[in-house]
Structure formats: structure tokens, C-alpha cells
Symmetry: C2
Subunit: 239 residues, 2 copies
């Protein structure tokens, strides 16, 4: 028996970066981790941004949400402190905010190549650990993808064709909408349990355990020792 | 937080008698048993039998299911052996099979009186532990109900009015049909997990644990540390 964990995420989202690590800590300690398959799903915090546009993170957030640059910087320091607690590198400046659509397309290509996990880690490192803008720059995105073990020519080919894996991205987003997802990270365990946000490690651990416990419970299809309109069942061998 | 366990049952059903005890053994060992409410729901193995008719169990089963009386007796001895393992008294002869509709009506009356559990135990004892027919005999049914602490005049009043609690019985049966229940006992934990049949104690224990674990998991309504179209949430207090 295996369990799939679907994680909707956006590389723009710092809590997705932190939440991924917290989930991984829970998974590393889980005694059935070899029976867990993780699939990263597409979500765009802002699907209206042109794919070739981006802006420095502080100015973007301050303008979009009507808060001061000082407040953005304070939030960033808070995020950096949380990241430090988990041993995750985090740069409080130098990032940009932009369209993640092309990244999601390449993440779907990487999924088909069996390298989605490596690519997402590489993208997060490129966005949060490196002091350099990542969005709206196909050259840097290509370099980050190659660092994850993908073939450079194939990545360039995907990026050059705006239709490549675009439907896969939109299907993920439609599924998120159908699930009522309004923020990321958003985790669905075994197609059944939803956990929203970068919850504590303990919550992810409990969700993993619960999902396995449930799948191993005999449900109504495993009727034993019951009586129905056609009589009582007497199995040939007794427990 | 409390969890309700709904158990569809028929007093005619020996596996309901055994299954009730196995469930109770799991409940007794469960550390949150004080937060569990049990409700017994109506199910008739044969809703076509007139309420005043009954037949000795061996002849009824042998005729209805086309097996020999010797096979019925062998099955009964198997049931008695299982009952003995749990310390439950079980008479292999002397029972009858009949309509349980009136019993279910009185069980609903007992539920309203807070004595449903006591009445069901008394009915099971009357059917399986006593060497005497119970069905189609309002006098004996009344005595068994009084033994469970119910008021004799009120029980007689319920039995004399065929409409009393009849809709409650039918609602239970309609709900069972909607759930696809084809045999009893049938347990639903927290309105969510179904366990069919007199499963081993361990299965009931796991279903109880699972139901509580799930209810205590923060689900999507308890979003923490997430980013959405309107920005990232920075709670005022950090975990």
C-alpha cells in the first residue's frame, strides 16, 4: 500500500519553502516513509502577472498590500528567523516576485523525468537562499533547473514553447479551486485529509499516521461475521 | 469533543450480540471512552415477518436457507464457542426467530428514557442466554424491558400502539439502506468510518482511535502560515 501526498505550492511563497521542510522532517521520522509518494502541484499566488515580468519583493509587497517597506522587512526577518530554526538558508533581500507559471511548467516536465523534488528544492534555493532575482529570467531558471539534474536543451525547449505542460499547470489550479484552496502550501494526504499552511512538524506527522491508519482499517467491504437477509455468514476458518 | 458510534443491530442476529461485546471491550480499554456516545439503530433481518409470528430458530434457519438442521446446530455450537471465549452466556437451543420491529420500537422509547443500552443488553440476554422464545410474545418482551429498568405501564403502552416509535425505526432502516448496509452488526464511527460485522476487538480499538485522531487534526479551516492572493499571513504570535 502506498499513499500519495499532493502539495500545492508556489515558489513565490516563503511559507511553502518552510512548510516543505517541516513536512519533510515529519516524513523522515515516519516509519512508512518508503510507502509515501509526494507530488508537487501548481498554484500561482498571482496568475495575472505576465510571465516575463517581475519586481523586487519589498516594493512589490509594500505596494500590493499597502504596507510600509519597513513592515515588509520586519516580516522578512521573521521568516528568516523561522527558516534558521530549521537550518534553512534564507536571504531577507534580493528576491523578486513574478509569474511562477513557467516554473510550474518545468516542474511538470521534471515530474515526468522523475526529478520534480530536486527541481523544486533547486528553485526554492534559487529564490530564498541566493541573493538574486529568479523570476522573469529564463536564463537563470534554466541554470537552476540544470543544477537539479535536468537536461539543458530539454528545459530550454519547454520554456520556449508556452503551451508545453501549460494544461497540466491549469489542471492543478482547477483542482485546487475545486478543493477550495485559497492559500498555499496546501497538503492533501491520500486524497482525503487536507492540511493548510506551514503547520508544525507534529501536525504533518499526525496526518501521515492517520492516513495510513485509515487505509489499513477494514471498511464495510471487508465484512466479517455478520447477519443479513440471506442468513449469517460462517467463514470456513475462524480468526 | 465527543464522538458518536451508531450501531445497526437486530436482536435476532447472533453476531450482533457477539459484536456488541467485542466493541465494548475495545471501548473499555479506550482512554477517551468518556467522550464516546453509543446509539443503537434499528435493522430487521427480515422485515416481512408479521410482528406476532415466530418460529423455533433451527427449523426457521434450516428451511429459509436450505441447510440441514444438523448444520444449523453445528453453526450454533460454533457461535456458542465464540461467545464462551468472551465470557458471554449462549444457549444453542430454545430460541425463536421473529419480527424485531416491536423490539426496535421499544429500543427507541428506551433511548428517549436514557436506558437503551440496558434494554438492548436485556434483550440479548433474553434471546441468547435464556432458554426460552422471545419473539412474538409481548408479555415476555415487557418482562425483559422491565428488567432493564423501564416502566411497565409505559412499555405496554408503546407495545399496544403500533405507530409508537414506528417512524423512528423506519428512519433508521432508511438510513441503513442509504449507507448500503446489507448485514449487521454495522458500526459507524463519528459519522464517518464504517466497520461491518463482529470484527476483532483490535479493529474496533483502531476505529475509535482513528476517529478521535482525525477529529483532532487541524484541517483546512485552521490555516496557519500560508500565502494567498492577498499576501502571506503573519500571525501576531508565533508558535
Amino acid at each position: 500500500m502506498t499513499v500519495t501526498v499532493d502539495i500545492w505550492t508556489d515558489v513565490n511563497c516563503p511559507f511553502c519553502y518552510l512548510g516543505k521542510r517541516r513536512f519533510e522532517q515529519a516524513l523522515d521520522s515516519f516509519d512508512r516513509s518508503d510507502a509515501v509518494t509526494v507530488v508537487h502541484r501548481s498554484f500561482e499566488l498571482d496568475p495575472t502577472i505576465p510571465t516575463d515580468a517581475s519586481a523586487p519583493i519589498e516594493a512589490h509587497i509594500a505596494q500590493k498590500y499597502g504596507i510600509s517597506v519597513a513592515q515588509v522587512e520586519a516580516n522578512e526577518r521573521g521568516l528568516a528567523a523561522q527558516a534558521a530554526e530549521m537550518g534553512l538558508p534564507y536571504q531577507t533581500g534580493g528576491r523578486d516576485f513574478g509569474s511562477s507559471f513557467d516554473m510550474h511548467r518545468v516542474l511538470h516536465f521534471a515530474l515526468a523525468q522523475g526529478r520534480q523534488e530536486a527541481l523544486l528544492d533547486s528553485l526554492y534555493a534559487g529564490n530564498f537562499a541566493d541573493d538574486a532575482p529568479l523570476f522573469g529570467d529564463h536564463e537563470r531558471l534554466t541554470a537552476v533547473a540544470v543544477r537539479a539534474g535536468l537536461d539543458e536543451a530539454q528545459v530550454r525547449s519547454v520554456l520556449a514553447d508556452p503551451d508545453a505542460y501549460a494544461d497540466a499547470v491549469r489542471r492543478d489550479e482547477q483542482e485546487a479551486a475545486a478543493l477550495g484552496v485559497t492559500g498555499v502550501p496546501f497538503f492533501v494526504f491520500g486524497g482525503r485529509y487536507a492540511v493548510s499552511g506551514a503547520q508544525p512538524v507534529e501536525i504533518f506527522a499526525r496526518a501521515l499516521q492517520l492516513t495510513f491508519d485509515e487505509q489499513e482499517l477494514p471498511l464495510e467491504s471487508d465484512t466479517a461475521d455478520a447477519c443479513g437477509p440471506d442468513g449469517c455468514e460462517f467463514p470456513p476458518t475462524r480468526r
